[in-house]
Amino acid sequence: MKRKTEGLYIIIVGCGKIGSIVASQMSASGNNVVVIDNREEAFDNLSEEFTGFKILGDATEIVHLKETKIERANVVLALTGDDNTNFMVSTVAKQYFGVKEVIARVNDPDNEKIFEEFDIEVISPTALVAEKIIQRVDTEGQG
């Protein structure tokens, strides 16, 4: 990812456990971050370092995505726990608003392929955790 000195304009959809950590840290390191979630209490997850914008609303309704000025975003991160939401947000960001870099959290490994068909970068928590566990067990076995 290119890093400009003035920071990136990043939109994060979903402010749950993963989204809030990413949002807080990206904001703390000097990026312009907008986070959107339809549960008001989700924003409590953000750390004090978060200085970006919070938008309360359903990101699968295009009016709310427009509020985030998504067409200007360098990066859109779809990080909710629901793959169908992440798919809609990602494809809309990519195909409709022309955002170049779109990364989605994909919870069900069966869904990865459909995201990749649309040139959306996939992060799979399931695969990552499984990989970590296997690595850990493997190194233990060797030691």
């Binding site: 699968t60 309704e61 295009i62 009016v63 629901d82 793959d83 169908n84 939401t85 798919f87 809609m88 494809t91 809309v92 195909q95 409709y96 069900d108 069966d110 869904n111 392929k113 459909i114 068909e117 649309f118």
Partner: protein
């Protein structure tokens, strides 16, 4: 060729029943086991209980490319991923989707789902039509509401009665397609005069329908 209906409850039932009576093979996919049981009792269709946005459920359908798929889930995010999986994985092109948020119609269109129908926008256009004037005898939106057909009668009080069509200020997004005058069809030209009692047939974009009616019928 079969018709696959994903999601929905009442609409799925009525649609399936009507398609079965026309002799089509109907498959129904529904998340809710109770709905599935009930539909299985009432319909001679293949019923699959499961989440239609999961590939392992869709795989059970054994799609062929000439199938027609109707997506009736009540959230657009579910409908969108289902429509895209069906296109990409099984090559099915004939997809009809119910869209809940009218603003999402364009997104579905852009992602290759041409028949994206929003009951909300159909209803609101119909209501607007009803609210306008009683002189509208017929009103129906076509092509998912992109075009509207109007049939209206010119009252004595019409600001356009007695005027030539070329002198009537109609929006560019509208056209008068025909006039029925005392049971004779008049094909309208610029020189044609509108008379009270004429029945006129109009095709227009929905956004100008109010203006069209105002100019032809009056307030």
């Amino acid at each position: 060729m079969k018709i696959v209906i994903i999601g929905g409850y009442r609409i799925a039932y009525h649609l399936a029943r009507s398609m079965i009576s026309k002799g089509y093979h109907v498959y129904i996919v529904n998340k809710d086991p109770q709905v599935c049981q009930e539909l299985a009792k009432k319909l001679s269709a293949v019923i699959i209980n499961g989440d239609g946005s999961k590939k392992n459920i869709l795989d059970q359908i054994e799609f062929s490319q000439d199938d027609i798929v109707v997506i009736l889930t009540n959230t657009d995010r579910d409908s969108l991923i289902i429509s895209q999986m069906i296109k990409k994985y099984y090559g099915v092109e004939r997809i009809v989707t119910l869209v809940n948020d009218p603003e999402n119609i364009e997104i579905f269109n852009r992602l290759g789902v041409k028949a994206a129908i929003s009951p909300t926008s159909l209803l609101s256009q119909t209501i607007q039509g009803l609210l306008l004037v009683e002189e509208i005898e017929e009103f129906f939106p076509v092509e998912e509401g992109k075009l509207v057909f109007l049939r209206l009668e010119i009252p004595d009080s019409s600001p356009s009665a007695g005027k030539k069509l070329k002198d009537i200020n109609l929006p560019n997004e509208s056209i008068i397609g025909g006039i029925l005058r005392q049971n004779n069809v008049v094909i309208p030209r610029g020189e044609t005069e509108l008379l009270p009692g004429d029945r006129i047939f109009i095709i227009c974009e929905p956004r100008v329908q109010t203006q069209v009616i105002r100019n032809l019928v009056g307030e």
